[in-house]
């Protein structure tokens, strides 16, 4: 398994976003993708999913615009959790799609 600190997120229109793993793992779904089936233990190595192996995730249902916003959100959320309380601005026209993506990504 590659031990990289970054992960590549690919949108439906094949835009690639390389972001820190920490940030990506704000999404519970992405966290599972990258870590399932959990830490390797001593007896058996079952192997993870393709995403874990490659360190990249393709989202065929999320556009680049939204994915960019999502990445911004990841970083913002990280900072927020570290105590920096700023506002996160969302353009009204993106709201609906962002919400769907959020549901999907479990953030």
């Amino acid at each position: 398994m590659k031990r990289k600190d970054t992960v590549k997120l690919i949108s439906t229109d094949e835009m690639e976003f390389v972001i820190d793993k920490d940030a990506a793992m704000v999404s519970q779904t992405i966290r599972n993708m990258l870590t399932s089936p959990g830490p390797i233990d001593n007896w058996v190595f079952l192997g993870g999913f393709a995403e874990t192996e490659l360190g990249e995730v393709t989202f065929p249902e999320i556009s680049a615009v939204i994915l960019e916003k999502i990445c911004q959100y990841f970083y913002w959320a990280l900072q927020y959790s570290r105590g920096k309380e700023t506002e996160f601005h969302i353009e009204p026209e993106l709201t609906l799609e962002l919400m769907m993506a959020a549901n999907y990504l479990h953030t």
Binding site: G38, L46, G47, G48
Partner: protein, 822 residues
Amino acid sequence: MSNQKKRNFQIEAFKHRVVVDPKYAEKTWSILEHAIHEIYNHNASGLSFEELYRNAYNMVLHKFGEKLYSGLVATMTAHLKEISKSIEAAQGDLFLEELNRKWNDHNKALQMIRDILMYMDRTYIPNTHKTPVHELGLNLWRDNVIHSSKIQSRLLSMLLELVHRERTGEVIDRGLMRNIIKMLMDLGSSVYQEDFEKPFLEVSAEFYMGESQKFIECCDCGDYLKKAELRLNEEIERVTHYLDVKSEVKITNVVEKEMIANHMMRLVHMENSGLVNMLLDDKYEDLGRMYNLFRRVPNGLSTIRDVMTSHLREIGKQLVTDAEKLKDPVEFVQRLLDEKDKYDSIISQAFSNDKTFQNALNSSFEYFINLNNRSPEFISLFVDDKLRKGLKGVSEEDVEIILDKVMMLFRYLQEKDVFEKYYKQHLAKRLLSGKTVSDDAERSLIVKLKTECGYQFTSKLEGMFTDMKTSQDTMQGFYASHPELTDGPTLVVQVLTTGSWPTQPSITCNLPAEMSALCEKFRSYYLGTHTGRRLSWQTNMGTADIKATFGKGQKHELNVSTYQMCVLMLFNNADRLSYKEVEQATGIPASDLKRCLQSMACVKGKNVLRKEPMSKDIGEDDAFFVNDKFTSKFYKVKIGTVVAQKESEPEKQETRQRVEEDRKPQIEAAIVRIMKSRRVLDHNNIIAEVTKQLQSRFLANPTEIKKRIESLIERDFLERDNNDRKLYRTMNYVEEGLVSKSKRSSQLLVSKTEEDGSIKILFVEHKRFNDLCRSARLVTPLMIPSATLPSFGFDPTFTWPQKLLISKPRLPRKLVAFVTSF
């Protein structure tokens, strides 16, 4: 349906999904099903998590949750059945390993499946109240693998077999064991309990029942306990290695019950190695082990305690009643102390200083020390011995330790007043003969007695020390005022206060002329400085040092008693004296004279006198000469009087009687005190309270208390209730008056009975409790006519009527009284 729509309204707007392919659900599920197979086959790396997640997500969104869920159940079940088969096929010991491996596989797979089906876990399952994926996986494993008929019993018997093998000393794979047990616990505590713990405990109980039976037949108590302890530790260790923590209590209970509780009595009473033997042989380690093991089971400690107590009492009883051992009082007390030391160290080293054991020890000692009514005397004799010679060259701390031990024995005594009586006698002898080794030790003991029993107990004893000190000053004063006395015999007088010292009425013997002249001088000196006192000589208590020259000119200094001195001085003027002549000339009482003559004429090495005829005893017709041939290696010769150290039987009786006499007023005083505050009280309560009040001094005998009550009734202090004969009340309104003479104060209980104001005196009590023994006596009810009464208040001139004084010889002649608030 409409309900669900509303809840997931934002999902409805998901535009990609408006296309509804009728085959959509089938297709998506087959992708997921395939993925599950792949996961079980360790091929997950070819799968895209995102794709699977998306598919599952979409299935749930499109209301195919049910299909997804049931598909999952079916697929997983199928896999588990296969796994179950492969486990069943494993041979022998490989079975557990295979089970463990498959369990790990399953766990891993289950986690992956849960992850990709996370959306279902989040939304569909809570809404439909189904079992979450992870739990479902565990349940399916339990039902299809662990509870499969071919595995369940095999698993259990293998586990139990492994435990048994470990118990019999084999080394087993504890890691594997731990994993399997952990699996059972993961499947739920009920699975662990039902499928393992319960049968495990049953088998253990059976195992230990057999083992304990075997051990108890062939081991002695100590070995058995060692084995039991070992087993117990093994089980505890087993629990920490591979069982549930909660099992520890259960399995230790089993071991305790089978190995200890069931055999407790047999162990304790085991012949040649049981508790009694351990106690006898000071086996601290074994005793400690027994304590720690028995503590774990109900009634364990009380069993040990009971056996120890009865053993102690038995030993103690032998100790205090064995006539052989009673011959030497010092030895007797030393034995008691040794016994106490022995058990103290057993309790501190083996029984972790358990308070209940200490109490048992104390009560046992109290029990048997008081079995022998000479214990108080012997303890006092022991102290006497120590203070006379035993403490020479011993450091101060050690002295303290010895005295503390004595105090401990003293605490056990019920008849502390008897001890006081003897102690006083012995102390008096020590002080007068100047035998006491250490003044500090003496005083330290008195301080201890004081803290234990209060000021009253020791005031007399302290008075004795004061007298000694004052006498020294007096003697200095005497010689200072009589400088002419430096030549001739020296007189040392110790002036003792009556009451503080144990005195026997004694007949003053005729002192030699030069001595009696000296005594007269002292008397006039003393009475000149202290008016209003009376001196009487206690010649029976004195000693003398005289210089003697014998036939061949050899000189010796003889240390003798006053009596002996009187006798010897007679020989300055005569060569031969008959018994009669001696008796006449000295005036010494016959029994004392005989003893003193015996010690001078019949003891070898000290026979300064010669007697005709030669015999052991002194006869009335014997004649005495100075023994010219007397020789001794020492210049100073001490001639002791033949005295019995221990009291003889009649003396003992006498002391006992005196003690009994002294108790009467104390009991009465206690009754009066109680009744003064209570007014009305029933018989049993009086007895109880009197006993309680007096127990620091002695154990009051109920019959005696009853007699005292009756006596008080006779004397109109108490009366019986007319309806309830068991009920007593103070008959009259009793006032207290204070009567004082010099520094002492007494209390008068006075009742105002007559209408004309005359009073009736019922009871006189000295404020100082100790004085009570001697000077408080109940007076016969005495009427004092009002005319003779002083005006109340302080009247220094008032003299009590003579009648009062007659009935109480020791009452002071003149009383200064003020009677409060009539």
